[in-house]
């Protein structure tokens, strides 16, 4: 079986009872008395939830059980590793930095205690409070080096401050120091709390919001490259999850074209903008675009050098889950192996496939 690394799966939020065990005071008492602070996008979200076929029990387990993920996903497709992204996008929209920091600490401790020990194939992304970079750095420092913690999770849709700004640089310095990539994920909820849902304004539906997700990645990547984040932090790595891939050629070509005439506005860039993307940024496949002519997708893979920068993600158990077999076979065995496994193994510094396993596969 093809070895597989899945860069994005979504374990559930803890229940309020579970979560409160991990929440420090005074927030534990607050939540016990008043419930958690809530923000919502106000758009119909039910259609953006989980696959409908995963409801109820299977072998006595439900989506609340880590073993459900092990059996229904990891065993089924032969995962070597799967990265737990959580379902906590609302933390990026919380206005109170102290509450958010407490929330992140509680979530991190909960998943470290209750999920990682349940399957050695689980890997974890750390939640941090972007509202306060100093506290975010402390959380990174607290947990960096923890086995199977492989990335720092941030929500990259409509943030109040774009990711290239110097406000975030202490976070990037900490990520670089501990060799922890940034794992960028969209959040509809954080979007409504922070700013407009799309560059054009508010989205009325989940459909509209979801279609426009890559626009945020285009803006965040442009912000990081053109403000010199990758020139400053030469070892920093970023993975963009749930944005698909077909938007990238346009961004690379436009950045390079405009840089040729406006270089003096980013004079610290010593290479072309696209070179920084290729060295520092990785994209995940899901939701892979579905052009009416299949060969067009192959052309897109070729345009972005997918051999090196694309990695597989399933988004399990969400409604727009992609099986690994959704990737075109015509990509060829070598490219498929790199996308399904090797690129992620290298990116996250994961152990190589044992020789015997590699030989068998």
């Amino acid at each position: 079986m093809q070895p597989l690394i899945d860069c994005d799966i979504h374990q559930p939020n803890p229940t309020q009872e579970e979560w409160c065990e991990y929440l420090p005071e005074p927030y534990r008492s607050e939540v016990a008395r008043f419930g958690p602070r809530i923000i919502s996008s106000g758009i119909r979200f039910e259609d953006g939830g989980n696959r409908w076929d995963l409801g109820g029990e299977r072998n006595g387990r439900t989506l609340r059980d880590p073993e459900f993920y092990s059996e229904q996903l990891l065993d089924t497709y032969g995962h070597r590793y799967a990265i737990l992204s959580g379902n906590n996008g609302h933390i990026a929209g919380m206005p109170d930095p102290d509450y958010t920091a407490a929330l992140c600490t509680a979530l991190n401790n909960y998943y470290l205690d209750r999920w990682l020990p349940r399957d050695e194939r689980f890997l974890l992304t750390l939640k941090i409070p972007l509202q306060d970079p100093a506290q975010a750095v402390r959380e990174i420092e607290r947990l960096a080096g923890t086995p199977r913690v492989v990335a720092v999770s941030v929500f990259a849709t409509a943030n109040r401050i774009a990711f290239g700004e110097r406000y975030y640089w202490p976070i990037y310095e900490a990520c670089q120091r501990h060799n922890l990539p940034l794992h960028l994920h969209p959040s509809t909820t954080a979007t409504i709390a922070n700013a407009a849902m799309t560059p054009a304004g508010q989205a009325a539906t989940y459909l509209e919001s979801h279609v426009c997700m890559p626009q945020f990645y285009m803006a965040q990547v442009a912000s990081m490259v053109l403000n010199g984040v990758f020139a400053k932090f030469e070892q920093l790595k970023v993975i963009l999850v749930e944005g698909g891939i077909c938007w990238l050629p346009h961004l690379l070509w436009r950045m390079d074209a405009e840089f040729k005439g406006l270089r003096h506005q980013a004079p610290f860039l010593k290479r072309m903008p696209s070179d920084y993307v290729r060295d520092h940024v990785r994209l995940t496949t899901q939701p892979i675009e579905e052009p009416s002519k299949a060969e067009h997708l192959l052309q897109m893979f070729d345009m972005i050098g997918a051999d090196d920068i694309v990695m597989y993600a399933s988004d399990f158990p969400h409604w727009d889950f992609d099986e690994p077999t959704k990737l075109p076979r015509a990509l060829g065995e070598t490219t498929l192996r790199r996308i399904l496994h090797d690129n992620a193994a290298q990116f996250f510094n994961l152990p190589a496939v044992p020789v015997t396993e590699a030989a068998i596969s």
Partner: protein
């Protein structure tokens, strides 16, 4: 290639190229401070009359987050159409790309400008 007297240095003003024709070639004589430069009036990007662009000191930035600087001893020519910039000390693009402008050796003798073209 041969050295040819094309104009007097005192005729060449900063900000305005002095255009000379040598055969089919149109060449712009540019001034930046006390330095003179001779460039073929053709941008390798889109064929624009590049000598009509702007000559400025190159803007340099050593590190993101630090104030940028400029080097007046290293003027650049910016094309009037898409603002691609070329180093007038070499003709090379300032961005790390291959296209470069055609430049001609230039000397000033007794107040006259000579170019080897």
């Amino acid at each position: 290639m041969s050295w040819q007297k094309v104009c007097m240095a005192s005729e060449v003003r900063e900000g305005t190229p002095t255009m000379v024709s040598l055969g089919r070639r149109e060449i712009g004589i540019l001034r930046y401070g006390d330095s003179f430069h001779a460039v073929l009036n053709f941008c390798p990007h889109a064929g624009a009359p590049i000598a009509r662009g702007r000559v400025e000191a190159i803007v340099l930035g050593n590190e993101p987050g630090a104030l940028p600087d400029c080097d007046h001893d290293r003027p650049v020519l910016k094309c009037p159409w898409h603002h691609w910039e070329f180093d007038l000390t070499s003709g090379a693009s300032v961005c790390p790309i291959k296209p470069r402008i055609k430049m001609f050796p230039l000397k000033v003798e007794n107040g006259d400008i000579w170019i080897d073209a």
